[in-house]
Subunit: 200 residues, 4 copies
DNA sequence: TTCTAACCGAGACGGTACGTCCGGTCTTCAA
DNA sequence: TTGAAGACCGGACGTACCGTCTCGGTTAGAA
């Protein structure tokens, strides 16, 4: 029967793709992820359902690409981490910016939706991490390596693990509503992580 | 006409409730959360749909209670955190046990399902935290307070925040597939958290 | 997994059935059979699609039953064939009435639709004949038998075949648009059939 | 802007036309008329959909022309009606041949499909009659006129109507499955029609 | 002989309806 | 009065085709 032929992407309609991204993000923002339906996206985008099914295999995938696309066009290369020489101050500044972003509804609803889907759908979760999460984390890795050269962080520390000490707590509180989020909180995280819990 | 009267819980069928819990957990384990349906639970439990709708308002709630019930009958009061006087060793031991639990499929699928639902459904998320997550975390709070009295942790440290330095990274790696999980990893987390990243 | 259980017809909603019949007949009359859809019937009847699929297996079947039902409630026992003793006059009268009915749009559209479907769908065709066509034809059989006893029709004639000489031509002209239909035409058919083509 | 220009038939691809006819007839024979789709015909014929839409306006039209074409190339001018001088024998012979043809599946499926479509689609129905049915019937007209000149049929009889007495019953039994078809049956029809039902 | 206009295969597109599945409500009957 | 059973309305699912619309490519006849 061989009908599972891959579609010809050179003939893909750019206009439709954009319309689908826009509709998907708008709907997720307006009615939430679970009430966002493929039918709804298609209708809002003025597109046939088949045009969605032809290029994506689930609404999670649509939303993921829409979100990536949003980041690409809007963010440029997102925001780098400053390197003023004062590690604690630099980290606190970035985390404060992250706090703001996490509370911005423009990003919050689709991020949550994707994160939630990723929890339950391993493939999507890994793609989410690879495409969105890890690139951001690598910025911390770079900053921590720089701090190691400056002697501000012990050389035997693995930066990829180290960054989790202050990033993951914030992430968890946000994702799971397991605690309030504030500048004070993130400042505290940085201090604890840099200087440890034990007496010095 | 008023039909929205709360059902009389004294006449509730205990057998049905157990059957529903069992069916819900079994289905989530077998086909995953999204393919678990209320109809499916009802059929498997040999129960009418109305019996589910009468006592719960969503499949997330059913699963949540089923999971709580599982914990209650099985875990007793879960496992406490040992207090041998060696804080680092105690924390490493508990986190190693947690690693094992996170990899046990009996717990993994429903936990993930609930966590994911909680990400996107704030009400459920808060209940999840309150009923399942926070009680566990309080065990760490207690252990850290004890360590403060023993002088192993600086007195100005807030234990509720401190525990996140080693608990949240593990939680995030597990939830979001953002990194591998191992005894080595959790041991490292404890060391970093206790002694900080900065040179001592 | 054994979901093909027959529905329980004692609990069937009479109101829905009637609404579906009405909607089906109305739609066929308004937009024609090919543009009548199950979704359209369901929407017009204010009924879920599943309620149609639960009780019928195709739109042809729905329409068939709707039409039968129409006949039952409206027609009583349809119209009998008069027996005045004058066979030719009686047949001519009935055929004239049939001509009028065939031209009545209230009956024409659904009849055509069913007949057409029956041409191509043997099962439905046979049901159509059994439930609608044959009972009418049997009235002619009875009248012809009476004529045989009166000596107006030769005794060796098979009435079931004989009636086709004047009924089938009319049916064919109507069904296939193969010729005009008029009182004159049907009168002629009766004369030809009774007295034959050959010189007497 | 005007794009509704009639296509230039001198540049038409004969190969495509033949392939479309073949595919249409093959598909109707294999899966039946309703499951025969334009897309299916195009795919089977190795032809773009537009090539079909350019030259025909519906699948009924395609099939009609395919069928006409089949008749032309295969049948020659179909079969004439013999004129041996014995009218009854001649008619019986032709009707017996018709019985055989009606039971030949090579003709049956597309004929039924066209007839059914014609029942419900007046335009197509009339074309069907004009192109296929009426030419055949005219052969009977000719034979009956000859019989009138020979004195075997009363002169005031209208041959176009007369032929329906034996042709239409057969047609109806076939089309509507309203009765069995056999040589005996058609022989009887001829006898009844020629000599009438009334006592001579 | 080159240009250009059309047909052609292919298939993406906006749509409509399909037949299925399930959500959540309501009704019936047995215990 | 609870509970099992399941019919009901509604609505999304993912698929199949519809008829329209590009997109190269090929294949004439006109320049």
């Amino acid at each position: 029967m061989a009908k599972n032929v891959a579609p010809d992407s050179t003939r893909r309609s750019e206009k439709s793709r954009r319309a689908i991204y826009d509709a998907a993000l708008a709907l997720v923002g307006e009615v939430g992820y679970p009430k966002t339906t493929i039918e709804g996206i298609a209708a809002r985008a003025g597109v046939g359902k088949q045009t969605i099914y032809r290029w994506w295999s689930s609404k999670a995938e649509v939303l993921m690409e829409a979100f990536l696309d949003l980041g690409e066009q809007a963010g440029g290369e997102s925001y780098a981490i400053p390197d003023t020489g004062d590690l604690a101050a630099d980290l606190k500044a970035v985390l404060r910016a992250t706090v703001d972003e996490l509370k911005d509804p423009r990003f919050e609803v689709p991020s949550r939706a994707l994160a939630a889907e990723g929890v339950v759908n391993e493939e999507l979760g890994r793609k989410f991490v690879e495409k969105l999460l890890e690139p951001s984390l690598q910025l911390y890795v770079a900053r921590l390596r720089s701090a190691q050269q400056a002697g501000d962080v012990r050389p035997e520390i693995d930066p990829r693990i180290a960054l989790e000490l202050f990033v993951s707590p914030l992430a968890q509180r946000w994702l799971q509503y397991s605690g309030p989020i504030s500048y004070e909180y993130t400042d505290t995280l940085v201090d604890y992580a840099l200087y440890g819990l034990a007496p010095r």
